[in-house]
Subunit: 290 residues, 4 copies
């Protein structure tokens, strides 16, 4: 086992040798039906940040380009369209299960060299995932800690997750999607350079916790879900284990402030990945219905 | 009044002189809460076609580009990302309320010349719409007519909509989002040239119907919602009136075959537009929960 | 006549009603043969600045994107390619004769509304110009004025051009291409913000001079050839008259420092536009052979 | 030595251990001065094919995208610009010395893994080459063989090069740039599918010939200079040896028909690569002056 693996922390083979969708398999109709029951008032939240050149984004990536074309027809009608050039991992976005690997293997053991190339991924790509729909649980770490935001390099541990859930009077259930609020997206608005130099986030202690609770996805208001003392970081151990070993989805750069303000700790969460053939990820607009 | 307008068919001013979101205003929390009650089994459907170079798309637009970058780090970990260049109106996509205009004015009277330029739209852009969530109603015109698909140039009239709803035992309600199935997307798979030469769809007789029923959106399994005898067509009267006069959303190139096979006539429908700043539209993956 | 025109300053019709190439018509084989005779030592200069995200560019345009793809084949061979997204008017670039217009007409009277659209230009596009080859004459205004660079907003007049040529002992001839050195490109390296806030350059007094001398092209070490007190400027009168009235080529953001250091005042100049179908301009690497 | 190398066929170290420009070093001022003397009439030729979606291009690459933006200002002036997305190896283009490698090493021994990544090449990139200027020699193989074009898979050997030169009464000299005409570009116009399925071109027998004659560059009217029985081909031995071992430039998809029609066998040839920072290649418009 390389430096990246963690004994027993794997979902390989759990849903068959051919599975390319990982924790999506936990989202049964029954679970989704239950999640729909969480809708009490119908108040609905977009959890997306703006998708634009100045939006939140890994600083080593290029900025999103958009140019608009338009015409006015002689018959009096006019129309417009956009041309967009972007990294698929731009703004609020999700990672496909082919996004990272180690020891030459993708989630469920597929060889990276065979399945990832300039034309995209032939296994575990984003279009293999039709949707993420289920119970979203907000763990408002910043509110629980009584701070506006956690500090750069501040780790959120498994124990923090438990205590925060307890304080919020929320019970984590198998198939949950975690909305992890660190408050860090506020730094994006205040100090772009600081936002791009690291972040607070979960550390490796949460990996067994994510596995034990059968969490489907973690979505957070930072760039990489996991704690980083610098950016780019020397290692991304949560990415490595969560995506490649557990087949678990990570969604980044969310705005969770409105949910926090309304103290919405559980909701029907709908994340609808663009069906980008062979893609490694895509921008999304996660929708929480409370 | 120009050739495009229809007497009385307007929502301008209805939600204030500054409104940029049109029929979105009909999607009240109470209505969304009721729509969530429609979830019976939790079975969930992605209504998106693949987003790719060979995906469905207006033939005058360029094909979607995707190139994947990847690296293998000395520490044994590897990662990948994509670069995507696309028209925002590619594949399964939605039109913002700034997409078309006539007589120099956008929805709610904003001057096109002031608000649409190479940098995008400063009014009625796609990022003004946080979500479409509510009751989705499938009108399966092809099934009701007993055909695999309607013919090129075959019009769906207001009377057809009424009769089909009646046959399906569905009552149209204010705030509904229409899922209109013509079967035409099958032609996309069978005969690309035919798909790109016109389509069956709704005609102008449906405009008063859409207004009278306070329909929020029309999503269909064709390129332009409306009937076209040729492509590009000389006129797009449904676009002109629905988007610019009614502030109503059009979503195109959906796959409604699975809903049809399961005879799901009402569902909780979630459409989550990318929050593309000043954008004219965006690809989407509409999610139906039944 | 609008505010843009200048009495008598036009080449419309001079090379036929159908001409789309303007002053290119002055570049006869005999003139090119004479220009080749200017090669004395064979020392050759690239006059291009780097084409990159951080290269010189109109600040309202997006930065150039480049991503590199590569693969290593099982047979031991590897290869790479780039994906580039850019404005055609990026870095060191030239303007096609369709780049600007006024009163609704392009060079030689073609209606802009008919000939410029989202698909490009059907008249006067960059691919109508196969090459610019002829005598290049450096007018080293900064050296003649004894300064490292001219100041923001400092105008170069027709009288300056005459005096500088005289001081350099150079006689301007019909068919010449002007290499105008203001020293301003040094500001690009020292102070990007200043470079993007205006520039020194020629003023409207040079327009009759350009016409009288039958100048084919003006290439300069600034963003827009012409003096600008601010950027974007309220007016671009040299662009309007030179491109649209005279059919004269403008090439921008050159590096003329090496030519200046070697006091090369005349050379064989070769500018080879990319044959970008229906394009409005293109990046170039002008080559001076002395 | 791997399957790719050829004993003695290398220029590594010839121009220093740090050299990144290969045969460019042969283009001395004296040689360029002599080449300028070849200009007899001044007749000038663009050797570029159109750069456009439908232009000649390796079929595995995406098509070139171009979208044009434009505006009409209230002051009566209008202007346009393009957005271009392309592979750098599109249309008539040249390969940088980092384009291919084998056994993990680029030209002059630089490790590929260190110097080629998603951000481009840090050694041997296209911007290290300021220009190619010198004597261009047309070897009109098709004319010499008395055919309109050579056949798919038909090899041009070293002996063919010698005999064609002799028949044309041309003596090959050190520092020459070869313009190799197979007539194959006519197939591009007649039968796109055939053009994209292989080509006639030089075979491995020409590699010692290219080295012995100190050829700087080979430019041809086909996709890959070298003979290919199918496309993509299993091997590209001329690319491997010419670029990686000899540091020799390849320029592809030229139009040499006008030169052939005028029987111009020697000329001043100017190829001006875009100074694309860290780029793997670029489109060019080669200019021949006769």
């Amino acid at each position: 086992m390389s430096e990246w693996g963690h004994a027993g922390l794997t979902n390989w083979g759990r849903w068959g040798a051919d599975d390319e969708r990982g924790t999506f398999n936990l989202l049964t109709p029954a679970l989704i039906q239950q999640a729909a029951r969480l809708v009490k008032t119908g108040k609905t939240y977009s959890l997306s940040m703006p998708l634009e050149a100045e939006g939140p984004q890994w600083p080593q990536r290029h900025k999103t380009w958009k140019v608009t074309t338009f015409n006015n027809r002689p018959n009096g009608m006019g129309s417009a369209d956009d041309v967009v050039t972007m990294h698929s991992h731009s703004g609020t976005h999700m990672d496909a299960l082919c996004h990272v690997w180690y020891d030459g293997q993708l989630y469920n053991g597929f060889p990276a060299i065979e399945h990832v190339g300039s034309s995209g991924a032939t296994h575990n790509s984003i279009d293999k995932l039709p949707f993420l729909v289920g119970r979203g649980v907000l763990l408002d770490i910043a509110a629980w800690k009584g701070v506006e935001y956690l500090q750069l390099g501040e780790a959120v541990t498994a124990d923090d997750l438990d205590q925060c859930a307890k304080a919020q009077n929320v019970t984590i259930q198998p198939g949950d999607m975690l909305l992890l609020r660190t408050g860090w997206i506020r730094i994006f608005r205040q100090n772009r350079q600081l936002y791009n130099s690291g972040e607070p986030g979960i550390d490796e202690s949460t990996l067994p916790w994510l596995k034990a609770h059968d969490i489907v996805a973690v979505a957070a208001d930072n760039q990489a879900i996991e704690v980083m003392g610098e950016l780019p970081p020397p290692r991304l151990p949560v990415h490595a284990a969560a995506i490649r070993d557990l087949g678990l989805y990570l969604i980044e750069n969310l705005n969770l402030d409105e949910l926090s303000a309304d103290r919405i700790y559980e909701c029907l969460l709908v994340i609808a990945p663009l069906q980008l053939t062979s893609g490694i990820g895509c921008p999304v607009n996660p929708i929480a219905i409370a």
